[in-house]
Amino acid sequence: MIELDGLTKRYGEKVAVDGLTCTVRPGIVTGFLGPNGAGKSTTMRMILGLDHPTAGDVRIDGRHYEQLTDPLTCIGALLDAKAVHGGRSAYNHLLCLAQSNGIPRGRVGEVLETVGLVAVARQKAKGFSYGMAQRLGIAAALLGDPRVLMFDEPVNGLDPEGIHWIRNLMKSLAAQGRTVFVSSHLMSEMAQTADHLVVIGQGRLLADTSMAEFVRRHARSYARVRSPQPERLLDALHEAGITVVPAADGALEAEGDKAERIGELAARHGIVLHELSPRQASLEEAFMRLTAGSVEYHARTEAGPRSWGSGRQGGTA
């Protein structure tokens, strides 16, 4: 279990993490979601006692990081896969970490086996691809067989096979009763793995909710309709009390599960329809709406605010 209590980090005027309070529970995968620059990595560094909080407190299984005896046996973390001395072999990298925490030497071979790096264990780390470095970092996190695991953007730079592997690894670690805390800036990635979500933007807590609850609250369903007779269609919809908003490409969108009613209305009035589809906004979209006010680096697009909503389809709510 990881407990954050009013955790705050300021760099001069800039507030990187702002009074963050939440609890990361064991037995599930907790996703730590936020746009780039939201303060996820800073929070994780404070959890590990690497950065000193300006205010607030963080505890791992009830204790401060500095109080942990052999911390790698309590919490294992992958922060930055490239944080390895390039001239040292994978085996020696893990060996020096094991020795510092009194972990038996045999464990090094075990974790190398788990992450599939046995064949390159004696090679220098500077020759490793990003994916291999990522696996080495995960091996280091698993070394002490810890009850709490923390991964910062673990799927970055991995191939599809590697992504699949790490998703299953995180789920199995949680299923064993461990606390798994994993950060990402991609909602779609979290939707695949996380049971619980902690969302932050500009260092502030935006949501602390189960994945199911987040989907229920934020996944917006709507009906999309396109007709060569938009004026007549609008009249008919207005009469029936259905409000619509125009989409960027000239189609109309109505909130809720209204596709069937719109179809029936059109048939009754003899209006030609070129398209009628029930749709569900993506979780990515919901996440972007949630964090819209707090994104640090906005990209300006000429296409208008709706352009990202298209593309996703799905009839099942």
Binding site: R45, L48, K82, A83, V84, H85, S100, L142, D145
Partner: protein, 271 residues
């Protein structure tokens, strides 16, 4: 993957913790190539130049002024390579500390050993012990090989002050390396550390010694104070401290550098 621990905290005494850090740091230091090449350059350069200068001194002895002949310090002549050899020791000390920062390994290291004093002094103890072994080997080797070159003018280990000077040479190289580690812990960057330490030992010390008014201040620099112990024959322009006093002054510089490095490491975020 084994099953989850049952939450029983492992009983580890503080001394066991220190032993773990020392073992870990030894693995780190022996598993990178910079350790080998910096230390071998220190050995080869110190011995090579020492032998060369000793051989030249032997050849020129007959043409030397009488006063120089009388005050000839064969031990110190064989240590002529120390000035250059110490630079390799500086590089060793700097790289041992700064490679944690330049590779980002520091974050992994401090997550494994969160007590920052244990981490820093564990690292410096291991690197310092290695520097001591290499420094002693270098000092004794350069003495014996240098004396062999000096032929009839050689000193023996049993002559007054000679054993102290040779042991002192090994201590001097060790303290230079440890001083560099302390400075590197403060500065974190290898380029910045070398950019400050190299001229400090190679230029500033010599410049201060060249002018009479600054000469007195220069005597209290770590290298000038520390190198006094390597002289077996006392000089005329006696410094206001003896051989061990000089080494003590150098040790104070080392302690100051280590204290500064520790204070900053404790206070700073790890990056």
């Amino acid at each position: 993957m084994t099953s989850v621990r049952t939450g029983r905290p492992r009983q580890t005494s503080p001394t066991a913790g220190v032993a773990q850090v020392l073992r870990s740091e030894w693995t780190k230091i022996r598993s990178v190539s910079s350790t080998g090449w910096t230390l071998s350059v220190a050995v080869v350069v110190t011995i090579g130049i020492g032998m060369l200068i000793s051989a030249l001194t032997r050849n020129e002895y007959d043409t030397m002024p009488v006063r120089e002949r009388l005050t000839l310090d064969p031990t110190f002549v064989s240590f002529a390579g120390m000035t250059l050899g110490q630079l390799a020791m500086i590089v060793f000390g700097v790289l041992v500390v700064t490679n944690e920062y330049s590779t980002g390994m520091i974050r992994v290291s401090l997550a494994a050993v969160p007590r920052r004093g244990a981490f820093l002094f564990g690292k410096i103890a291991v690197a310092g012990a290695l520097a001591l072994v290499v420094g002693m080997i270098t000092s004794f080797a350069t003495f014996f090989l240098g004396q062999a070159m000096l032929g009839p003018y050689r000193a023996g280990l049993g002559d007054p002050g000679v054993l102290r000077a040779v042991v002192g040479g090994g201590l001097y190289l060790t303290l230079i390396a440890v001083f560099s580690m302390g400075v590197a812990a403060m500065l974190r960057s290898p380029l910045l550390s070398l950019g400050i330490l190299m001229p400090f030992f190679f230029l500033i010390s010599n410049i201060l010694a060249a002018v009479d008014s600054t000469k007195k201040a220069g005597r209290f620099l770590p290298d000038q104070a520390g190198s006094r112990i390597m002289q077996a024959v006392p000089r005329a322009d006696e410094a206001p401290y003896g051989p061990w006093g000089g080494l003590g002054i150098m040790a104070l510089w080392v302690i100051a550098a280590l204290a500064g490095g520790y204070a900053l490491l404790r206070r700073r975020d790890a990056q």
